[in-house]
Structure formats: C-alpha cells, structure tokens
C-alpha cells in the first residue's frame, strides 16, 4: 500500500534528555524518522526537551518544540497542531510511555490522533508482563517461568516455588532501572523494593534465571501487509545475566548453526506478527548452549539501542524504514538506500564482523560499583568492523580510549594465577581483559568457560590474540608476523612494545611490503549488488574498493562514545561541521566509532569511515584521502587529543592551531598569556608532589580547587577545604594522570559565566552568554544555566566581551571557542579557555538562531565574520529566555555521590524556553522531571558553612506551608533562629527511608561537608532521596531557583508550550510596540 492518504501531519516524540539506557540512539532514530517522513511530503511536528540533538534543529521538522515531554505540554501542542498521527516508537521508552499516558488521558481520542506504527494494545501486550506471557503462551513461544508481583509477600511466595536465583524486572522502565538478580532473601527484598518503586505501574516480574545461556537478539521489521524481515541478529559475548546494553555484542551471531539461527528467526517473526507491530521490533532470546531449548526474554515494540546498532552494523536504516511503514508504505515499495537498486524487503547479508563494546563511566567514577548485572550502567558504546573477529574486537577495545594500546593491562599482569582465577568470577567492565590474562597465565579455555560461561568460541578467539602477543615477544618480527598482527587489529605501539623492535623498523617493513589496510564497503548485500554507499571500514585484504575522488575535501574527527563530559553535543557539532563543509563546496568526510549517533549515519557526510579514533587508524584514512585538512575542534577532547599527533605526521589541522590549543591547555603558557593580556585568573600552580601541593595551597589559601591536568569533563576535580582533604585527594588522584601534574587553584566563590564565540582571527561573534545558576564549584555541565544572563551588569558584560576578543586574538582562534569566567564583586576572572566546540553550542545555536558551527566552518575556510550576515561582537539578546537543566542517571550507578561538585556527573540536559526567566525555569525543572507540589516536607542537613545562608530559603518554605525536618546540628541552628523545624537523627537512615517511603518527607536539601564517602550519613540520605525519586537538592542555589519556580507557578497556570520562533517573534512584536 502506498502512503496512507489520511495521514498528512505527524507528531514525532523524542526521547528527552540523555540518560543511561536512553542515549544518542534516539536522536539518530528521530532524525531519520523526520527526514523519512518529509521525503513523503508529510508535515512533521517534533517535540523533544533535549536541545543537544540534531532532531531538534529547525530544518529537521516543519515545527520543532523544545518543550518538556509531559501530558500538559503535549496536550497543548496537540491542541495547537492537530496532527493526524502520533509516532511514538522512535522516542525510546519515554516516547512509548508518553503515548500511553496521552491515550489514557483521552487526549488522542479527543483530538482524533491516530497512534502510528504500534497500537496501544500492542504496547501493552509487549510491555505488560502478564499480557506478554499470555500472548507467548497463545502462540506457543516459550518464556521463563515467572510471576508478576506487586508486593514483597507475593515475591517471597513465588521464590519458594521456583528457588533462587531469580531475576527481578520492573515493568515500564528504561535500561532495566531497578532490576537485578537475587540469590538470597536479603537481595530479593532489596531489589524487589527498588523495582516496585521504579515501575510506572508498580509491577515487578520475578523470573526464573537462565544466567549462563547464550543471549541472542533479533531485529525484526514488519509492514501492514504482514511482510516480515530480520535486519540483523546479534550475539552477546556475555551470556544471559548481563544487561544487553552492558554486554559486548557481535553481529551477526557467531556460534549458531543455521538451524539455530532460523529457529530463533522464525520465532521472532511469529512474535512481531502476533503483536501486529508495524515498524521495528527487538526480540531477545536465551538459548541453551547445550540444546535447542530457548526462551523469549524480552520484546521491545519500538526502535531501540539495539536497532541503532543493527542499522549501523548492517547498513539498513531501521528508524527510517519504520517511519515509512508507519505511514502505510510496504517494505517492497521502499528502496534499499544503500544499493539504491534493490528494495527494503530483504535481509542484509554481512561479510564482516561487527563488535560493540559499551563505554562505562567507571574511569570517571573510580569509586562506583563496577559490577555488571541486569541494570545497565554504560553511558555509550563503540562499534568496530573488520573481516576477522580478532581485529573487529581489538579495534573496538582501542576505541574505548583506555590506558593501554591493546588487550594487556599492567595491573592484571602483576596478579598470580589464583588471583586471576578469582577475578574471573567477577563480572565487571574488565572481564575480557581478565579472560585474556587468564589465557596468558595458562588457564584453559574450559576452565574459563566453566567460570564465565562465555562461549569457548570467543575465549579461543581472545586466545588467538594472546598467541600473537606471545609470538611477537618470542619470535623475530618477520613480514608474515607483522601482517598477522596488523590484520588481527594490533596497534603499532603494542607491536613495538611486545617485539622490542623500534617504530622505525616496523615502518621500514611496512613500507617495503606495502602493509597498509585497504577499505571495504558496508553494502547490506555482501557485494552481491553494486552499491553506492560511501560507508567504509579498514581491513587487511587484497582489494581496496575505496573510491578516492579528486574533490577538495575536509575530514571531521568525531567524538567517539557518549560519556559523561563528552556527550551528544559534540556529535551535534560534528554533523553540522560535515554539513557546513558540504555547503562550502567541499567533500565532507567523517571518521567516528559511535554507532548510536547521527554522525555515523551513512548519509550525513559525503563519506563515512567507521574507524577507531586512534592515531594510526585516523592517519591511514588521511593518507588515503589526502584532504585539504582535518578539523578537530568539533569532536570534543577525543579529537583535540589527536591533534598534536596528527600535526607531528604532517597533517594540516584546520582552524585554531595545535600550538594555540597547547597554550590554552598548558598551565604555564596560559598564565603567561593572561598576564600579558592583563586578565585575571584564580591564583594557582601545577604541582608534582605532596610537599609542593601543601605549600601552594597554603600560599593561595583554602579552599582550593584541585584537579589533574588534561582531563575530560572535570574528571576527579574537587574543592578541598583543608590540608587533610588535600592529602587524601592527592592519594586518590595521583594515579589518574601519571606524567601529568596536579593543578591547584584558588577557589573563588562567585557567579560562573560561560561565553561561546566564533572567531575568524580578527573578529569575534558571541551569539549569547549563559549564566550559571549555581555558584562556582559546581561543574558547568551539572549547573542550571540561563540565557541571556540574568544578574550580570552591563559593565561586566562589556568586560566579558572585551576579554573574549582579546583571548581570541591572542590565541589566534579560528572557529569556535568557549570561555568560562567567574564573576565576583564585579571583577572578572578567567577559569578556562577551550579553543573548541563546547557543550553549550547546540543550545546557543538554537536559541539565538546563529548557525554557530556553520559560521565556524566558514571562518576556518577563510571567510570573514563581517561578511557572513550575523554581525560581530555580542549579539543582542531577544526577549526569549532559556534555562538549561542537567539530568542525571544516579539511579543506575550505585555508590556515586549525587551531590554537585566540580566533577561532572550529569548525562544529559533539557531546555526550558519561554519569554520570562521564571517560566523558562519552571519548564526546565519540569523537563528534568521535577514536580511542584504545593505542600510537603523538606528534609534539611547542611554543612556548617551553609546554614546561615540557608535561613531565608527555609523560612520561605515554611511560609509556603511546607514542613521542615532537619538533622540535629542543622535543626538546632534553625531552632535557635526561631524557626519551627522538627529534628531527626541523621544516622538513623532507616527512619529517614521509612518517612520518605511513607511520603512524610517529599524533598531533600543536603549540602555535604566532604561527600563521596558512602559510609557517611549525608551520602546515605542523598542516595535514599535519589532512589525514591524525591527532589534532592545539594546546592542552595538550585533550591532557591526551584523556590522561584514554585512560587511563580501559582501566577503562571497558563504556561504556553510554543516553538523557539514563537518566543523570539513574540518578543520582537513587543519591541515594536
């Protein structure tokens, strides 16, 4: 059937802020869907609260609403737009949940909006455990023995029946929030409790555990005419027991025979037919490694993280096709976008192996629990492609940007065989490194399999890698051995290190025998048909099928996996860079390794190389393409770190020079520069040992801000208040950056202001300045912040612009730069200068309508800002006000302190947009998931320094009718000041938990003395608040902002939910008046 003629206008719902379990893959899906619908002349309306996405760009939909994803906002928008259909299957779990809520609230019926792709009934059948079980029974598909429970007693009764271990899965949650495996009564109680809380419908599934079985996934598509295809199947290296988002995954499956492959394929098709899904669906299986027995574990009736991976792995754009199916098209009517000759009604044939490895935040949170289970912890992932498993796997390992250059870890090498055996029992992020070390230490494949249940096939493949390591150590480095190592994915430093040969010898051998990788295409059809996709991977083979054009071209280095501190915003910038390069008449080429993102969509740039962002791999592409230059300023620290290495190899870095980057990053050089420019900065010094550290800190005066040099996202940055704090910090951080000194700075408590600018070397354009709501000491990524500034004087603004211009000129910045300032007593200090794109670029581009990346590209290519039509200097702000709120994923990460510190912890952000600060603030809070109850009870526990300042806040809450409970010292302080507060023992975490559970405490304000120590009472209180999802504030500034929003909500019951243009134009009208 062609396009359903009744559907002319479609509302697409995004997935909101990036959180663990719901990341950039939904920007990719949403962007694809919008493009796909527009191709069919459908009018597209998009709603998403996440401003850092490509999908919320103006040109992606006919109208874009950056507004909270809640009933209130969606109802408003539906009322205004009157769409014919709602597409909920591309916005992750958030999208599905909001669709269900809208349906249940009667909104869809009221406005006659058709749910596209998947019916409400289907969502319920797939997501409601009991109905899913019934359906599976009906179509005779096996599921694990299980029971829905709504309370602890039911749970215990069921476990008595089936025994431990049991898996606990809450219904309607993201990334398995609140789930886990219980091996005993105590664990059962604990996990069940949390699970019930997290489920939207207070339902939890207890399930027979098949931990140790193979975990296999199928990505299925179906159209309304009942044609079904499987895009890709995937095998988890980690057996059942580890969340698939935390598992190493390969595509296609490696250890399944044809009969097994098709048994599960047939089952997956049966399931998508029974659910009557029109679009994409993901089915997860547990397969007994000793028989044909299998169980259906989970079905996602929507586009998912796995489908993004499958799309990139197979070259089959699932979201794009799903959108077409949703408006009535059939698979055989939709072209295969890769071959352009065949149709979408086929199954991709891969002629390579794809490996995905999750990227976990444990390098940042060194104290977090690294154990992997049914609750996902990874923030992002990397993918690699090659024609052997060994190389595909090693490329993925390298893409993680870890410490080593291969699969070896000095820490593990030091362990005894017994210690390694013990470690094999622990399933954490280091597991494959431990498996490799076990093999090195002579532990057999069988023994490793017995402990880990990782299929011997994978263990033997890792064994092949270890064998090559051994050969490199033992044998002479011949051409054959070098070729073996290179084609198995070994990096040069690893080969040099193992063989003891010099880099020169290696290079000589390589040159003499032409040992360079060739490039092959991802073409969906294993070369059966001629293909037009410019999507390549490197491999050591005979034929190079890379078609190098004679065009002028520029390469953009991407930002790799999403991690805390380097998120989707850099993908946003990379994508715009590629577009900007195209607009300027050059061929654009992207190198990146993140399968979730828009930048690795094969139709974003003119050419895509799916490669590790490792110097050799990047350089090999450059050697082949000989571009005019390479741009590193949009790919975050990952790309910046490559710059000096590329320069050393003679590569032309376009834009700001590597020299300038170094001046900005090298403390001494930067200090000198600021002195020359007569710009103030907090006093500070770089130190290499404890003695110097203490002397420096004394000299500057406590409190001081300490951090290692060369880091991403303020890793391990902390404010310390005394010598003891300093000592314990240095003990912990010393190993964090060996070779790099520790930085100690004066901590100036003031307002933090962030400036993003475009510079053409002579002029600058500042589209807007953002003011942080929290004072200094909170990482900029974790702060609420407002555009335009709300409390900064004109004099200070002038100084900011002046400093920015001076710095841009002095550093000869060409392209983007970001500067963070502290303002105290009208005095401006520079904290840091980043001569690259920043987190705030997407937000500012959207709210100021200045296409920042595009202008940066033009500047890089030699144009003058003056001529580009957006002016120079600070762009005057309109009456639009935007507030950014950070969003955290603490519920996924046990043992991470939720308190705001200089160390970044948030995973995503939302934007509130309106015409006044108060209203924008309300929306930012709402978008971030805060509720505004008109009464309740606030639990307060503050460090002594903060008590005096908090008095007003507490008074206001009491005046508003809130009850206040405080811990002993804090409470006594308030009582002395005549405030009516109740006392509670801060050590009695059980009582506090009870009260929170019973709804007697509804909000928490907790400002830590030290933080980070899970044994301290404050940590516990903060953790409990987070687990029970009550608003937990750890900064007075945040709660004060919340108070502003809470109070003004009363006068703003008529909130509007409009597009950015609406607020800008509205203000223009006002100005005309």
């Amino acid at each position: 059937m062609p396009v359903n003629k009744e559907v002319k206008k479609v509302l697409v719902v995004g997935s909101g802020p990036i959180i663990i379990g719901q990341a950039a893959e939904f920007d990719y899906a949403g962007t694809q869907a919008c493009k796909s619908l527009k191709e069919e002349n459908i009018e597209v309306v998009l709603v998403n609260s996440n401003p850092a996405t490509i999908m919320t760009d103006d040109n992606m939909a006919d109208r874009v609403y950056i507004q909270p994803l809640n009933i209130e906002a969606l109802s408003y928008i539906i009322d205004k737009e009157r769409p014919d259909g709602l597409l909920p299957t591309l916005g992750g779990q958030t999208g599905l949940n909001i669709a269900v809520e809208l349906q249940e609230a009667g909104v869809l019926d009221k406005y006659n909006v058709k749910l596209l792709g998947t019916s409400l009934d289907t969502i319920k059948k797939a997501e409601d455990r009991e109905s899913f079980k019934d359906l599976m029974k009906e179509i005779k598909e096996p599921v694990p023995k299980s029971q829905i429970v709504c309370n602890l007693e039911e749970g215990e009764a069921f476990v008595k029946e089936i025994g431990f271990p049991v898996i606990i899965r809450p219904a309607y949650t993201l990334g398995g929030t609140g789930g886990g495996i219980a091996h005993n009564d105590e664990e059962l109680k604990d996990i069940l409790h949390k699970g019930l809380l997290h489920s939207r419908i207070n339902q939890v599934l207890l399930e027979q555990s098949v931990a140790g079985w193979k975990e296999i996934e199928y990505e299925v598509m179906r159209d309304s005419n009942d044609t079904c295809i499987v895009v890709c199947n995937m095998e988890n290296l980690d057996p059942v027991g580890v969340h698939t988002g935390d598992s190493i995954v390969v595509a296609p499956s490696q250890t399944l025979r044809d009969e097994e492959y098709h048994m599960l394929r047939t089952s997956a098709i049966k399931i998508i037919r029974a659910l009557e899904i029109e679009g994409g669906c993901n089915v997860q299986y547990a397969l007994n490694p000793e028989s044909m027995e299998y169980l259906v574990i989970e079905v996602n009736p929507r586009v998912s993280r796995s489908s993004a991976l499958a799309s990139k792995a197979a070259g089959y754009p699932i979201a794009k096709i799903a959108a077409k199916i949703a408006i009535g098209m059939n698979l055989h009517e939709i072209p295969n976008y890769v071959t352009k000759k065949t149709m979408a009604s086929f199954e991709p044939a891969l002629d390579y192996v794809v490996t995905k490895i999750p990227k976990w935040p444990f390098d940042k949170f060194s104290y977090a629990n690294r154990k992997l289970g049914t609750q996902m912890k990874a923030t992002g992932e990397v993918m690699a492609i090659d024609r052997t498993f060994e190389s595909s796997f090693l490329k993925a390992v390298i893409s993680l940007e870890g410490k080593g250059n291969g699969l070896r870890s000095p820490k593990l090498e030091m362990l005894s065989q017994d210690e390694v055996l013990d470690k094999l029992h622990i399933c954490d992020d280091k597991r494959v490194f431990v498996v490799a070390e076990a093999l090195r230490k002579g532990i057999s494949t069988e023994e490793i399999f017995d402990i880990t249940k990782i299929d011997p096939w994978f263990i033997n493949k890792i064994g092949n890698i270890v064998n090559i390591e051994n050969r490199l150590e033992a044998e002479e480095l011949t051409v054959e051995l070098l070729h073996k190592a290179e084609s198995s994915g070994f990096t040069d430093p690893e080969i040099v290190d193992l063989s003891g040969e010099s880099m020169e010898t290696l290079d000589t051998l390589r040159r003499a025998h032409n040992l360079y990788p060739v490039y092959k295409m991802v073409d969906t059809c294993a070369a059966e048909f001629e293909s037009a996709t410019p999507y390549y991977y490197s491999t050591f083979e005979t034929e190079d099928e890379n078609e190098i054009t004679k065009n002028k071209k520029i390469i953009v280095i991407g930002s790799g996996p999403i991690r805390i501190g380097q998120g989707i915003e850099f993908d946003y910038c990379s994508v715009h860079a590629a577009w900007g390069i195209q607009n300027a008449g050059y061929e654009s080429i992207i190198i990146n390794n993140n399968p979730e993102t828009v930048s690795t969509d094969f139709d974003t740039a003119d050419k895509l190389y799916f490669e590790p962002l490792y110097i050799e791999d990047v350089y090999n592409v450059i050697r082949k393409e000989t571009p005019q230059g390479v741009i590193v300023q949009f790919g975050g620290q990952t790309a910046i770190n490559l710059a000096p290495k590329l320069l050393k190899r003679g590569v032309q870095i376009l834009g700001t020079s590597v020299e300038s980057i170094d001046v900005a990053e090298d403390r001494k050089r930067f200090e000198r520069l600021l002195r020359e420019l007569n710009i103030k900065q907090p006093k500070g010094a770089a130190v290499n040992n404890l003695r110097d550290a203490i002397a420096t800190a004394r000299n500057i005066g406590f409190p001081v801000l300490v951090r290692p040099s060369y880091v991403i996202g303020g890793r391990a940055m902390q404010v310390v208040y005394d010598e003891n704090g300093l000592k314990s910090y240095l003990k912990e951080a010393a190993s964090l950056s060996s070779g790099h000194p520790i930085l100690i700075d004066q901590y100036i408590e003031g307002k933090e202001v962030e400036v993003d600018a475009i510079s053409d070397r002579n002029d600058i354009l500042i589209p807007g300045i953002m003011e942080h709501i929290e004072r200094t000491g909170v990482h900029s990524g974790d702060s609420f912040c407002a555009y335009p500034t709300q409390t900064i004087s004109q004099k200070v603004l002038d100084t900011l612009v002046d400093y920015t211009a001076k710095l841009a000129k002095a550093l000869q910045v060409i392209g983007l730069m970001n500067i963070q300032f502290v303002v105290k007593d009208e005095e401006v200090y520079v904290i840091e200068v980043n001569p690259r794109a920043s987190r705030t670029v997407p937000i500012l581009s959207k709210v100021t309508k200045v296409p920042m990346v595009d202008l940066a590209i033009k500047a890089i290519l030699g144009e003058n800002l003056e001529d580009l039509g957006y002016g120079t200097g600070l762009k005057p702000s309109s009456n639009l006000v935007a507030v950014k709120a950070p969003v955290f994923s603490f519920q996924k990460l046990n043992d991470v302190d939720v308190a705001l510190t200089p160390e970044m912890k948030s995973t995503g952000e939302v934007l509130g947009v309106d015409n006044t600060y108060d209203r924008a603030l309300i929306k930012a809070f709402k978008g971030a998931g805060f509720a505004f109850p008109q009464s309740g009870c606030l639990l307060v526990s503050l460090k002594p320094e903060a008590r005096e300042e908090s008095l007003n806040t507490i008074k206001e809450f009491i005046d508003l009718g809130f009850k206040v409970i405080a811990t002993k010292h804090t409470g006594e302080f308030y009582q002395q000041k005549g405030l009516d507060v109740e006392l509670i023992d801060r050590h009695d975490s059980q009582l506090i938990e009870q009260k929170i559970k019973a709804g007697e405490i509804t909000m928490s304000l907790n400002i830590p003395t030290l933080g980070k120590n899970p044994k301290r009472s404050g940590f516990k209180i903060r953790a409990i608040a987070e687990q029970y999802k009550i608003p937990g504030f750890t900064s007075l500034d945040t709660i004060n902002a919340y108070l502003v929003a809470l109070k003004s909500l009363k006068d703003n019951s008529d909130l509007t939910y409009e597009t950015i243009d609406f607020y800008i134009n509205k203000s223009l009208l006002k100005i005309k008046k």
């Binding site: 295809i229 044809d258 028989s291 065949t342 024609r387």
Partner: protein, 354 residues
C-alpha cells in the same frame, strides 16, 4: 600448505589449503548466507561448482550428522576468507577441515572473498581450476578446454528407487539431487515417499499410482536433462505436480517455456520473493544459476511468485494441469523457513497432511 584459484579470465588467487590436496575444475559461484556452510557443502545442487562463501568466518560451529542435505559433500571446492580452527557448538562432532579432507574436497582459506565475489558479480559465473599444486601453463590449458559436465544430475541422483513407507498420501520424488530437508518436510506431513532415479520413465511412475509427484532440485542446466523434460511432458496433466528449483525449470521446458542462464545466479538465504496474489514478500533460500523465461509459458499458467531484486520468475501455478512450481527452496537448509508452508499447502491440495 598453499592453495590456488585460477579463474577463466586469468586471475590467480593464492590462499591456504584446509581441505584435500588435489586439483579440480568447476564453475565458481558465491553464496551470501551467513550460516549453513554444511548444508551448502552437502547440497547436490552445487555439484560441479566451487563455492565461495561471502561470510568471512566459516567453520565456527563445526560439523555434525544432522545438518547434511545428502550423505556426502557435493561441491567441487570450497573458498573462504577465514577457516575457524576451534569450533564451538554442542552438536559439533568435528571440525570442518577434517570433514572436507575425509570427503576428499578441496578447500582454500585466506582469500579476499569479497574481491572474488565482486569479480563474479561483474563478469558472471566463470569456470575455474582450484589446486594445491603450483599453477602451470598446463593447468591453464586444461581450464581453457574445460566444459561444465552434462551428467551432473546423473551423478548425484539415486541409482535405485527408494520407498519410505508411511500411512499418508503417496508422493513421488524425481531425484535430480534431492535435498534431505525436502524429504524431511514430506515425512513430517505423513506422506509415503517414493524416490525415483532421475531417468525413471513416466510409465514406471504412473504405475505406482501416486497421489502426486515432486520434481526435485538439482545441479546444472535443465537443458542437459532432456530425458527428464520428456518424462515431465508425459506426466503433466496425469498427476498433480510440485516442483522445486531444477525441477521447476525442467517442467517449464516441458510446458514449452524457455530457460536461460543468469549472470551470476541466486545463491543465499535472503532472496525476497513477492507473492503476487497478496503482495506479501517472503525471504527465501535460493540456489540456482538458470531461470525460467516468461516467454513461451502457456496462458493457463499463473505466475504467483516473482523475485523482488531482479523480477525473475520464482513460481507459478497451473490449476488446469495441477502444477505448483517454485524456483526457490521452501525446504530451507540452509536459510529461512518462511516458505515451508508450501509443503503443507501442496500436500493438503491432494487431500493429505492431516
């Protein structure tokens, strides 16, 4: 040990032997299935061919006794990117290399199979010589003179009639190299199965009072088995006829249609076939180098199935003559089981399958 492939166009490719030491000639073709190498190796339709697997890792799950499509390996040679020495699967009884050697089959690894596949795609199916010896002028001459054998069907067909008794409908199979999964499906439907050597006369078949006859898959050019075409001519209209692959081409010739050689054939597990009656597309397993031309097909034939990729005829039915015919492999082995319902439909159409 080194091994070589020499193509008709003069291309020489070097690799590593992991099968028998020998020199053989054949037609080089590629298969895009990601699983199912043992089924491919034992599929009689590949007789006379050297098969290139496009999936790079082959041998991962070893070999076993159940996945075979006939009692021995039928390909002339086997070409892969990487042979997996350490297989892993609960059902495996041994590794692929030993299996090939035991069957005296040439096999070569470490080949850029994607390059080779593209060559075949561009130039069409070629003859080749594969060897564990050095390539010499003599071998080149030999290859120049090589002609694909016309007796491949005779070589893979049963020499004796075989009966598998059962209480259900009596279905005959004309064995041009029948795959074991075809027999398996008919067995599952309770049929009594009579399997005839390829050159059995129509009279002998009619004498057995069958409820239907199935013209099986098989290797080579349908025009090389004129005897079978004649047999088909004598059976049409007298018995319900089901056809698969080569059987489909033979019966088409008997109906007066023509067949032609495809440039590089259809071999794999992902071939989309649309059922014209409901516009539903099914993924099918395919393995054929020839196709039926629509020119010359009688008017009372309704083309039911068409290949979505290249619009070639994939199946038809003729109610008047009671013929149901498909080009693809509903029995899978290897490949998707989506079309297996056809066996049920066929057997039900003659009143069986209960």
């Amino acid at each position: 040990m080194k091994a070589y492939i020499l193509l008709e166009d003069g291309t020489t490719i070097e690799g590593t032997s992991f099968g028998a030491q020998k020199t053989v000639m054949g037609e080089i073709v590629f298969n895009t299935g990601m699983t199912g190498y043992q089924e491919v190796l034992t599929d009689p339709s590949y007789a006379g061919q050297v098969v290139v697997m496009t999936y790079p890792l082959i041998g991962n799950y070893g070999v076993n006794l159940d996945d075979v499509q006939s009692e021995s390996i039928k390909v002339n040679g086997f070409v892969v990117k990487e042979y997996c020495e350490m297989e892993s699967n609960w059902k495996s009884t041994g590794n692929l290399s030993d299996y090939l050697k035991d069957n005296d089959i040439f096999a070569i690894a470490d080949v850029d199979t994607r390059m080779l596949t593209k060559k075949i795609r561009k130039q069409g199916t070629m003859n080749c010589i594969v060897t564990t010896e050095e390539i010499t002028d003599e071998l080149m001459d030999k290859l120049d003179k090589y002609k694909f054998p016309v007796d491949v069907v005779a070589n893979v067909s049963r020499k004796q009639k075989e009966i598998i008794p059962a209480p259900g409908k009596k279905v005959g199979i004309l064995d041009f190299g029948v795959k074991s999964y075809i027999i398996k499906y008919l067995k599952q439907l309770g049929c009594e199965i009579h399997i005839y050597p390829w050159n059995t006369s129509a009279k002998a078949i009619l004498n057995d009072k069958l409820d239907a006859i199935l013209f099986s898959n098989g290797p080579g050019d349908p025009k090389d088995v004129q005897e079978a075409v004649a047999t088909a001519g004598n059976l049409i209209g007298k018995l319900p006829i089901f056809c698969i692959c080569l059987g489909h081409q033979i019966v088409s010739l008997a109906l007066g249609a023509d067949t032609y050689k495809l440039k590089f054939g259809h071999r794999g597990s992902n071939h989309p076939v649309i059922d014209k009656r409901n516009n539903r597309v099914t993924m099918t397993s395919q393995n054929h180098g020839y196709a039926v031309s629509d020119k010359g097909l009688p008017d009372n034939i309704q083309v039911t199935h068409v290949n979505v990729n290249d619009n070639t005829i994939e199946g038809y039915s003729c109610p008047d003559l009671n013929i149901h015919s498909v080009q693809f492999h509903p029995e899978a082995g290897p490949g998707p089981e989506d079309a297996s319902y056809l066996f049920k439909e066929w057997v039900e159409s003659i009143g069986g399958g209960k």
